[in-house]
Symmetry: C3
Subunit: 644 residues, 3 copies
């Protein structure tokens, strides 16, 4: 089903009815509102203006739209910031990040929690049982604009408290952090300093704890909102709209509070943000890379324990990337169908109509700026709505062939101590995902410790700390397991394992890493054997009791196999990664359909979808009945048929 984001407060009230009617005509079912409206709801402390929102919700509900209401905490109004300056976040250099845009609060501020609880309760009480209301969104895009970590006095206060609870005594903290190094020992928790503004790099264990602390705060803050909402708004679900490639907090833990996950899908904007090569950026500038949106669909399906929405779908050019191209004709439709193919319950466009003013006035909507006239993206959304109506309801999303273990903490760990400047956890996972998808495989994302039973192939690109549950889950894997370098390389306290990496999985893999080399972009180490290619960036020196599948030039093991468990001792280049993935999939007896770089397949239940991101046709298999499209899949086209 389709949805849309709407800002009644941006338009004259006289236009609301037309807007609601035209939404329904287009085929829209859900409308999200309210998430930035605090200054309209409470222009001064305690002086509330609900009438406009009452009327807006009534108009929308009357038109038959189902309302998702956002809590307005992403944009505290100026009077509140002036009154309570302790809610303001600080950047890593110690400078305050002030009012004038959004997300100008720190999760560490007690004042902010009280104010958030106050406004959420007021809004939840007033609208929680509104007949048009079906669900809630907490806040908006946690972490967007680097807003998870703040480095101010409130943060230090809260961090000290978090450490006190975790470690009980300074001695235990000193032991955990290895504070004896460089005389960093602390005599009391009062002596704790934030791990920034140091002369050279601060203690990595201290940094990891600071990152964990801030991540924990997000989950707790979100839970606080959810608890209030649930109290006052029975029978409505709650979600949060996550933002892609924001890894500063653990999305799995926040989603534990939620009924379903949602995410904001801006595939083209990400082309400039993700570390693609310039050639890739040029190639995918006007369509996005064919794994950018799917990677997140699959991630958030995992985060949402099977349930997710696209809460904001790019409907045309946006405003916030360095360059903002118009998507190629067909892409808005393609992205929508693709989200549905990956299991999205709803695809909701951002936004109904392009704004006339302020920061996002260059962001397309389903309608042209200020007008009751569909934009090119709006016309494509209309087409999807018609196709969806013709197709009827979609089947349930089943289990994929491949599980990929995705671990926020491994991002933190490798980011805190990269050892190779270009060791980027998110890039590694993306490339492994891409390699699987190029073989026509579907992928589920699993959190560390989540069950991987029943998956023919399990991918662990990198899991730095493998705790008890994570180890148990790997032990219970009944498929082929492919584990990447740097896994098991740190314990809970950022220490090296006493038996050297891969620590807890030494036995499982048969390996011991006695040395690590990190390689600048111009230097690679060749691998040959059952797979060939180049090791780059990170290369481990193994002692192994496992079978050696491929070796480095000097004869050392590069890829090992012990039973069903494979271990790849480097960051692979494309050739090595593809060969390794294929070898693992073959061992897992998976049927593969190799596709060119611009084609992707995806199954939802018994329906097979194909998406063409490129500029050349692709021929779908013969002898099937097409539910969507036709055998020759044109550029930017979609096709679908029932698997036989």
């Amino acid at each position: 089903m389709l949805g849309v984001c709407y800002y009644p407060e941006h338009w004259d009230e006289s236009r609301w009815e037309t807007d609601a009617r035209r939404m329904r005509e287009l085929g829209i079912t859900f409308v999200r509102i309210g998430e930035f409206a605090w200054s309209r709801l409470e222009p001064k402390r305690g002086e509330f203006q609900f009438e406009w929102l009452d009327r807006a919700m009534d108009v929308l509900a009357k038109a038959g739209l189902k309302i998702v209401l956002g809590t307005p905490t992403a944009t505290p109004p100026k009077w509140l910031v002036d009154e309570c300056p302790d809610i303001i976040p600080y950047d890593k250099d110690g400078n305050p990040r002030g009012f004038g845009s959004r997300r100008h609060y720190t999760f560490s501020s007690q004042t902010w929690w009280q104010e958030s609880a106050r406004i959420v309760e007021i809004v939840a009480k007033r609208y929680g049982k509104h007949p048009g209301l079906v669900g809630w969104q907490t806040d908006n895009e946690y972490g967007c604009h680097d807003t998870i970590r703040s480095w101010g006095p409130e943060d230090l206060k809260a961090f000290k408290q978090w450490l006190r609870l975790r470690y009980q005594t300074p001695d235990k903290l000193n032991e955990a952090w290895g504070s004896v190094f460089w005389s960093m020992e602390l005599g009391s928790f009062d002596e704790v300093a934030l791990p920034n503004l140091t002369v050279t790099e601060p203690n990595p264990a201290a940094r990891l704890d600071f990152w964990r602390f801030q991540s924990d705060q997000v989950a707790a803050y979100d839970k606080m909102q959810c608890d209030i909402i649930r109290k006052h708004s029975p029978d409505r679900w709650i979600t949060h709209n996550f933002m892609g490639f924001i890894l500063d907090f653990d999305h799995f833990k926040v989603a534990d509070n939620l009924d379903l996950a949602s995410w904001d899908s801006y595939p083209i904007g990400f082309v400039e943000k993700f570390p693609f090569s310039e050639a890739e950026r040029n190639r995918w500038a006007e369509t996005s890379h064919p794994d950018i949106a799917p990677f997140h669909h699959d991630l958030y399906r995992g985060v949402g324990r099977g349930r997710f929405w696209v809460m904001e779908q790019q409907p045309g050019p946006v405003n916030w990337a360095p360059w903002n191209p118009v998507p190629k004709p067909g892409m808005v439709r393609l992205w929508t169908w693709e989200a549905l193919a990956h299991g999205a319950e709803v695809v909701s466009y951002f936004r109904w109509r392009q704004a006339m003013f302020a920061q996002e006035q260059m962001h397309a909507g389903l309608n042209l700026a200020g007008l009751d006239e569909l934009s090119p993206g709006g016309l494509e959304a209309k087409q999807v709505a018609e196709e969806l109506a013709a197709l009827g309801s979609l089947p349930e999303t089943g289990k994929a062939q491949v599980a990929l273990v995705f671990d926020y903490q491994s991002y933190w760990t490798t980011n805190i101590q990269p050892q190779a400047k270009d060791f980027r956890y998110e890039e590694l996972c993306f490339r492994w995902y891409e390699a699987a998808r190029r073989l026509g495989l579907d992928v589920d994302f699993v959190r560390p410790g989540g069950s991987v039973e029943g998956y023919p192939l399990v991918l662990v690109p990198c899991m730095t700390e493998i705790d008890g549950p994570a180890q148990d889950a790997l032990d219970k894997a009944d498929g082929v397991v492919l584990i990447g370098a740097r896994s098991g390389s740190r314990d809970r306290n950022f220490k090296l394992p006493e038996n050297l990496p891969p620590g807890p999985i030494a036995e499982m893999t048969g390996n011991r890493v006695y040395q690590v080399s990190t390689l600048r972009p111009g230097v690679t180490h060749s691998v040959s054997g059952q797979v060939t290619g180049e090791g780059t960036r990170w290369r481990e020196y193994l002692q192994t009791s496992a079978e050696i599948v491929a070796t480095f030039d000097n004869g050392d093991a590069a890829l090992t196999r012990k039973g069903k468990v494979h271990y790849l001792a480097c960051w692979p280049d494309e050739a090595l990664l593809t060969a390794t993935m294929k070898l693992a999939a073959l061992e897992a007896c998976l049927a593969m359909t190799e596709v060119p770089d611009h084609i992707r397949l995806r199954r939802r239940g018994d329906i097979v979808f194909v998406f063409n991101y490129g500029s050349e046709d692709w021929e779908a298999p013969q002898g099937v009945d097409f539910l969507l499209g036709e055998r020759t899949v044109k550029p930017q086209a979609v096709a679908a048929w029932r698997a036989q």
Copy 2:
């Protein structure tokens, strides 16, 4: 005529007479002094030392030199800064920019205005009627070193006041800025914050107002100085020495205070500052690009309402660019003649003699450091003086064939909201100017709303806000008009026009822009038809009732014509720009002389000048009598003849 910048306070008094005599011998008429001498004039508050300047002016005047005196406000002395710390500017990160170089004041400080008025009045009173004095320079290079905008407490105070006057009520401000977006509404003017240090980008309308405010302050500050000078120094003119490619304030508005404009011409330094390609930078490293100085001559002739000087002419290598090459032999002469050809009344070299100490000791002068011995640049200046004497007075500068509408606000608008990272207004105007000049055409710069009547060809590379006067002026154009993309795209309050861009000129152009794509450097959109080439960076999707002169690949209009008004819906590459310029010039029935990239022509009255920036000869037309040079124009040579 020629001038020179001189610092008697840098040299022992015993040398002044020799210096003055040698200036006259070289052929210099004007000498500028005093603009950095505050600490010598007033070493402690109220303790003045005028005697040295009295003597210096007498020596210079006695030698027959005409004196231009600078007000010393660009360098407030340390005792003043210590006494009045509120004059110190703040950078965008909120840090003070302290004493130790120059321009360490904010235009927002009331204390600074009082102190400026005090010292200007004292100097104007003492020297305003000195017989040697012919004119004044206010301050020095407003805006140099990014000193227009300051972000401190004084600035916030003054900004609030400016907004109060402009908007009267917070509601009007909220409506103008679209503050409802992201709950940015303000309850009172006291709640206004500076548009910096926000979590993500601040409101663009707020930023534009802050930029306007700071620009207005410069004009008002300059007027304050001019009013005082005029009171005490009758019959002397006033100028300011503008710095090239500084666009943070509206030079037209400052020049409304002045009798004539002047600018500081450092052609080679700009090679590193302007966004040239590396290939262009290498090619022009030792000569400068052949449009850098002319662009500014023509701009400041416009700013000065027909009258301008070069107040500081580079006479050799300078000290402030990343690399500072010696200009190729002949370039100092070439630049001087070129300035005169573009209508400069005086070319004044910076500086008489290279300093022995301090920040600019690597900056060449007309004399070697510390010596009474001409530098290579000094010898070239001498040659110009002799040639000028031989030639007699130059004719009046006439009207050019081409008018280019240059708009500081469009720079601000596109800089605040680039949408394409490389959308640089100054680069766009420069490339349009270059294209016209490569066809041998002369160009006048016109401010928005300035009359373009009588120009066969009018260029509007980009005018984001087209207000009433600007629209009127375009309506009255009687030549061919070529308007570039993004024109008419914003109203006074940074809002999109209700009829979509190009807003007020929708009727005139026949166009409506319903979508905009911005393209990264590796991506272009091909254009073909009566002109061909590539659209880059910014591409508009038009609905048009005009004639379609060229289209994009998908058939959409790229260049339209409605009567004499052409509209180019993209940022053109060189091929497309050249073809479009040629087509427009042909329609305007202009006689063109296409020149290679290193040759430029320029007419002053009936004299045609040619300048060779390259390393190959160029053949001037046959059958003319050469006033300067000869038919074969050698590298770095100048030739001139009377048009027939």
Copy 3:
């Protein structure tokens, strides 16, 4: 002999004896300890815990190890920083650099001097006469992490005092700095400001004085420690472990306090720090460039007046460079032999065993992390120990054929006022050194004013200020002298010399520099004559009475000769530098052995060593008896024989 750095406080006391025994078994003689142990020695003010160190020293001494004890001042503990916040340094932007890593103090703080004196005295008293103790290391790596210059209130206070002593009156300071320029004159020393946070560049003379002041402070601070140590610890030597390519203070002056110099040799880390080309970085990624370590060996032999150690030798991959490759097999042995060949008395590895925790846990040791098991580097160290034992004691290091005058102040001067963005003093010296070494020559480093008598060839790549002693030393040179551009270009007060550069050596060279051109990377000026190549970056225009050996394209002198004194008027490219070096060496009648870029020769007494950094064999001369290795010198191999 060999040594190792050891941190007993990082390991359980039960392991100390095994560690000590295994050190001896490996062949280690010296062990450095204690330099980061303040928080373990004094966990709270006045509460000392010496027992653990007592026991550790006893265990080490009993095993036969000779102990070097570091003063623990590089890491003031948190309680001290909290108690005395005025010891904290400030960065150039004026922000404090806090606790959490190391070197978080400013040399300007009086409190810090008192606290340093206190802890040094306590430690020196307790351990100064310990029978196992043979020497001291003051502090650790002065200047590492940009910690020489601090920009806080304590620094301003101390700078004012330093200026008062130097200049006596503000007038003299104003005269020396040329403060009349831009009204920078000061009425009293109280008006002095730090030369940072200015609107544009601050006065270069002020900056140079600030740099001198900070350099002087380091030497004085080090002397304070040495004086205390000498009082309480008779018959022990003192050293400091300098860090390579840190040029912010004058190492010669600090070493005047010391008995011998030492330095910390991390050859591979420097590949990313030194301004090599990308091609060079790739080529030398896993071995280092063959002049990086030797350059420093020779420098610190000079700094140590003939005596130096390598205090920390890289034994495998490190943790702090952008990429940290494993050295190629053999390199740890090669570096060790190379250090000895260059005259090192001891090569001491960093560290005994890889740490399990904290910032340096990815830094290899001689043993694997946490284990009693030699790492690959440990095995190579063992091999060296055995070879050393077989070889017996090495001969004395003699005088080299070439003297290179190395001047910290010239780095400061050219860094403060580069004029060409890529004018890097250290790169210039390195390239001159490399050119000499490629001819098979040995090099001694000499400080400005140091005697160069007896050297067949004297190199002065650049000496900006040539004071009396420096001029005398050059006058007394009896070999060929090759002087580079920019020498003699500034006087003591950063002023241009009155006779223009090269000032004091105008007579000696026969030259006058009347103009300087600096050239961006894409622009060069060709040189031909007795030498050919390209002038880059910095090119001088000479008037000369000397013989012209080579000229620029325009006929100007590029290389001149007056008697034995040569002057090279540009920054030479590799071809020009090699040709010039060869010409000078030929005139000096030096026997040269040209070697490929990956081979280096070095004599210690009568032993000739050869080192192969490349991937191709090299053939040593026939007919010699090899003390080490064999005639075919394999990649990463070492050979040595007695010169005949």
